[in-house]
């Protein structure tokens, strides 16, 4: 009986926490357990399906950076084909500029891409990458950041550059109509 009561009370107290946690899945809370800054030894960041994300997989980091914590490095995986990824970086503090450096290494070929955000600002950047992918966050002054990496899927990879630019330009477009009503018999 006592075991049952213990279990009941524990369940009642823990239940709301479980429900809350389900809203945000697969988030690395770097502000709790700081990721290392060495790009040769980055923390593995897995892109996974997220509830409410209709297309593809994503990874998320809610982190702190700057001051004693000079850098956070994350390994995003290896891709043999060119993959389109969206990097969404938000600075949440009143600190300095936050810099995200994305490195794609394929054999001897190394590509670096830099994304910078100032305090309270946000940037979304699409990159087409191949090889071993590492994301490194740096800042001088202590601040918080949110980093989201979204891989929408291979249907986006299959788009040519022009088609992809077209989709970006059409963002928010309404559903096109295939049929138009006319007076009379139509054609």
């Amino acid at each position: 009986m006592s075991k049952f009561i213990c279990l009941l009370i524990s369940s009642l107290l823990v239940l709301p926490i479980t429900v809350e946690a389900q809203k945000y899945q697969n988030i690395v809370r770097d502000y709790r357990n700081d990721a290392g800054g060495d790009p040769e030894n980055p923390l593995r960041l897995q892109l996974k399906a997220q509830k409410d994300l209709k297309s593809g997989r994503m990874a998320a980091v809610w982190g702190s950076i700057g001051g004693d914590d000079e850098a956070d490095s994350f390994f995003l995986g290896k891709t043999p084909d060119l993959a389109r990824l969206q990097f969404d970086l938000t600075s949440l503090g009143v600190g300095d500029t936050i810099t995200l450096t994305v490195t794609a290494k394929e054999g001897q070929d190394v590509e670096h891409h830099k994304i910078e955000v100032t305090s309270g600002d946000s940037q979304k950047v699409w990159l087409r990458l191949r090889g071993k992918l590492v994301a490194r966050i740096t800042a001088v002054e202590a601040t918080n950041y949110a980093l989201y990496v979204w891989y929408p899927g291979d249907l986006f990879d299959a788009l040519t550059e022009n088609e992809f630019e077209d989709v970006i330009r059409h963002q928010g477009m309404e559903k096109p109509h295939m049929v138009r009503i006319v007076r009379g018999d139509g054609k």
Partner: protein, 208 residues
């Protein structure tokens, strides 16, 4: 006494977990708006892609009409008898919306199919390129090519089954609209004059 102690320990343990989680919530609250922004943006972008698929595929079909090209496409009329009857015309408009949605799905899926085939083609080409390296590598590539071909065949079967189902649904809507028009304007033959050509177009164009 031991039971009371057990209960007390359990409560304290649960409370400590609860408190630490509440502390995390306070920190999490700082990040949550950025998460919502990201998800909203991603959802809008994925939605745009679906609309864009249908738009592109329809625009590349001379038979399909687009709003920015009023000279082309699927112009459907109710006929002069129905035009002069408000109730009939409103009924007609409601049914046309369903036909529009059915065609939207067909065009969107058609475009998606073309992209999937483009991906498969690129994979095949990459395999063949890699196969030139050595004999064992060529054997592995040959096996993988066979796997890709099987996957492609399975995909095509599923695609055609779904497409035929969607074309059938379109025809159901067209037949229903024909009956509606006929109920207002007897002998109008709307389906024969307007519905059937659209159905035949879909039947020929979409299955692969």
């Amino acid at each position: 006494m031991i039971r009371i102690l057990q209960i007390l320990i359990a409560v304290m343990l649960a409370q400590s977990i609860s408190q630490s989680a509440r502390a995390d919530d306070v920190s999490d609250a700082l990040f949550q708006p950025s998460f919502s922004n990201m998800m909203t943006g991603a959802s809008a972008f994925a939605h745009t892609l679906i609309n864009y698929h249908a738009f592109q595929q329809c625009a590349s079909d001379p038979s399909c009409g687009m709003p920015d090209d009023p000279g082309s496409g699927f112009e459907v009329g109710a006929g002069s008898c129905c035009d002069n009857n408000d109730e009939c015309f409103n009924d007609f408009s409601r049914h046309v919306n369903r036909i529009d949605r059915a065609l939207f799905t067909l065009y969107s899926n058609d475009r998606r199919h073309n992209l999937v085939m483009r991906i498969q083609g690129a994979r095949m080409a990459a395999m063949r390129g890699a196969g030139g390296l050595s004999a064992p590598a060529a054997a592995v590539v040959a096996r993988q090519e066979a796997d890709i071909a099987i996957a492609e065949r399975n995909y095509l079967e599923k695609y055609n089954a779904k497409t035929n189902e969607n074309v059938g649904l379109l025809n159901d809507f067209l037949l229903e609209l024909g009956s509606v028009i006929n109920s207002y304007c007897e002998g109008s033959d709307w389906y024969q004059r307007n519905g059937l050509p659209l159905y035949l177009h879909a039947k020929i164009k979409f299955p692969k």
